[in-house]
């Protein structure tokens, strides 16, 4: 499904590579977790795969498409950004209608997709309220719906549950599992390692632009000495030093 070969990215003026000679294969219908400390290269890798930035070297394909086929690739994927990429002055319905239209959806089909997703994510009552009045959890859910209306084959999620209440997180995770059951491949980054442990079928721990370990969560835990959970594995592999960067 996703095949990454020797992929590297070095930003203009940067001293080090953000992603360095990275090889990775993600199979269809996987829920794949990209885990790593701040500045490890997770967001850069997702930005590369979404064609937001161009690689310095190496290549990747998603369902046979590369960044050289941007429009086809964009139709195939969905990205849920970490920020609420929504218009605060528009209602939930208006936001979703607009972003759905950008994927070529229209009319009754678009309406029914919006109402279905809104209902599953518990926002029916608020569909016609302005997004500016929503709580963080509600905005996260709308942010998610805006990316899946066109039923992408691959869904990238950049910390989709950051800053939300437990109930919202639960609804979001359940919905993502539902999408996965329907056939979507999910690539997900998070700092919530317990959540990743439960949610992902496979994870890769990435640091300094390279994958330092990958496998099923339980497999990684059992392979690491004295590790009881994914967090122990993560700290053992990436160290305890702070990773502040500006």
């Amino acid at each position: 499904m996703i095949k990454i070969e020797q992929l590297s990215k070095k930003y203009k003026g940067a001293e080090a590579y953000s992603v360095s000679d990275l090889d990775l294969f993600i199979d269809e219908k996987e829920i794949f977790g990209l885990l790593g400390p701040n500045g490890a290269g997770k967001t850069t890798l997702i930005s590369l795969l979404c064609s937001l930035i161009k690689p310095t070297s190496g290549s990747f394909t998603i369902d046979g498409l590369t960044y050289k086929n941007p429009n086809q690739l964009k139709q195939l994927i969905g990205i849920v950004p970490q920020e609420y990429a929504l218009y605060p002055a528009l209602t939930a319905n208006e936001n979703l209608t607009y972003f759905g239209s950008m994927y070529g959806l229209k009319g009754q089909l678009l309406k029914s997709k919006i109402s279905q997703a809104i209902e599953i994510l518990g926002l029916s009552k608020f569909a016609n309220k302005k997004v500016s009045t929503f709580s963080g959890g509600m905005k996260r859910r709308i942010n998610l719906i805006a990316s899946i209306l066109h039923e992408p084959k691959v869904l990238f999620l950049d910390e989709p549950t950051v800053g939300v209440d437990v109930q919202s997180k639960n609804v979001i995770i359940k919905y993502l599992q539902l999408l996965n059951k329907k056939g979507a491949t999910i690539i997900y980054t998070s700092h919530h390692l317990n959540e990743a442990e439960d949610f992902c079928t496979r994870v890769a721990i990435i640091d300094h632009g390279k994958i330092i370990s990958q496998g099923q969560p339980q497999e990684l835990i059992s392979n690491q000495k004295n590790a009881n959970n994914l967090e122990d594995v993560f700290l053992a592999l990436t160290g305890k030093a702070l990773r502040d960067h500006a």
Binding site: S51, L52, K74, G78, T97, Y98, F99, G104
Partner: protein, 423 residues
């Protein structure tokens, strides 16, 4: 097409949700145009209701000073306040209490008469008309006289020039009349006999364009509405650039970059909505000129037979303004960059375009710059329609320039956006 429609509808919703913003977009240009027209209307009126108070120190108290005072009073422009001392008048003017003080020197009338008589006698003696009657007497030396003018340092140069020209003309006329009078006294015993016609032999008449039998005489509304309407239309670059910068900052542009939609479509939606705003602004301003101005005692804006051409010009001027707004919004990173730059740039474009000072009085270099100012093209096109009664065909060159400006700025925005994102 569906994506363009969706983008347009989204822009429409965003604009209509910001009631304060809409009010500013429509109310401020109206306030601007009414204020400017009221202020400038007086300069177009031949008889003004407001008189400018000026000071006059009359050290002469003769025929000449009386003529100057009566001419100034009769002009209906000035209210003449007489002072006794030059020092007092000068201090009041230099403190800014008055715009102007005129100091008429001592013995101006008597010395002028003496000087003129000397000259006339000198001329007549050449014809040997005087020799027989009078002995030649040594001539008394009469020094030339100086009417001193004190201006408030804050007084505008145009006002100073017009006052100086007016007084110069007045003095020349008095001198001429004195010469005629001296000749008359020398050659005729009868004061009632008309020997010289003192009326101007050469006069001038302004020939204005006609529409049928009717003369087209532009009023202040015809001059002000196009200039300030264009100024208001170009101010659209401020809210438009802010709109684009806001989208970049709130992350929606990043989402759109992951969607299968081009930047051109996104800009297309903005262009459509903001162009509609420009045209609504324009309609409102025409309506103000036609319906409200007469009620405010201002001249009515005459749009008869011009509506189509006016909207054509407004459409393309609006496009040019929007192109600039798209470019500014694309390049600027923050609202703090786009808003002040946009507002200042519009003022510069207006100055270059001839909104405040006619292009022909500008220095050569500025005239060249003016030729590449879209506001100048728009203003010329509006003047062509309002003042020169131009046909559609005659507007084509300016319309093409405005359209090209939009295309070029929009293309630069798209290319710049591509380059910027190709990190």
């Amino acid at each position: 097409m569906h994506k363009l429609w969706a983008s347009t509808y989204k822009e429409f919703l965003l604009l209509t949700r910001d009631i304060g913003g809409i009010a500013i977009l429509f109310i401020m240009p109206i306030v601007l145009i009414i204020t400017i027209t009221i202020i400038q209307d007086s300069s177009f009126k031949t008889i003004s209701d407001t008189k400018i108070p000026i000071l006059l120190v009359n050290n002469d108290n003769g025929r000449v000073s009386e003529t100057i005072i009566s001419s100034l009073t009769a002009s209906n422009t000035f209210q003449v306040i007489q002072k006794d001392k030059e020092q007092e008048a000068r201090d009041l003017v230099f403190k800014g209490n008055y715009q102007l003080a005129i100091i008429i020197p001592e013995k101006l009338s008597s010395d002028l008469d003496k000087k003129v008589n000397q000259n006339v006698e000198g001329i007549l003696s050449k014809f040997r008309l005087e020799e027989e009657e009078k002995e030649i007497q040594p001539e008394e030396t009469i020094l030339s006289k100086e009417v001193r003018l004190y201006f408030d340092p804050a007084t505008q140069l145009t006002f100073k020039s017009s006052v100086k020209n007016g007084i110069d003309k007045m003095i020349s006329k008095i001198e001429t009349q004195s010469i005629y009078k001296a000749f008359h006294e020398q050659v005729s015993e009868d004061d009632t006999e008309v020997i010289f016609e003192t009326d101007n032999f050469i006069s001038f008449k302004e020939i204005v364009p006609k529409q049928g039998d009717k003369e087209i005489i532009p009023n202040s509304a015809q001059h002000n509405v196009p200039a300030w309407t264009l100024f208001a239309i170009f101010f659209i670059i401020v809210p438009l650039s802010i709109n684009i910068v806001k989208e970049k900052n709130q992350g929606t542009f990043v989402r759109l970059r992951t969607n299968p939609v081009s930047y051109a479509i996104v800009l297309g939606g903005k262009t459509t909505v903001y162009l509609a705003v420009c045209l609504i602004q324009f309609t409102l301003m025409l309506a103000i000129g036609v319906f409200l101005f007469p009620k405010l005692g201002l001249p009515t804006l005459d749009v008869s037979g011009r509506i189509f051409n006016l909207f054509i010009v407004a459409f393309f001027a609006g496009l040019a303004a929007i192109g600039l707004g798209l470019l500014l919004g694309t390049v600027a990173k923050t609202q703090e960059q786009s808003a002040p730059f946009g507002a200042t740039f519009v003022v510069i474009l207006a100055a270059l375009g001839g909104v405040w000072v006619p292009v022909f009085v500008m220095p050569k270099f500025m005239q060249l710059l003016s030729n590449i100012s879209p506001m100048n093209w728009g203003l010329n096109a509006f003047y062509d329609v309002f003042l020169r009664n131009a046909s559609f065909i005659e507007l084509v060159p300016e319309i093409i320039l405005l359209l090209l400006f939009f295309i070029i700025t929009a293309l630069i925005s798209i290319v710049y956006n591509e380059k910027k994102n190709a990190v």
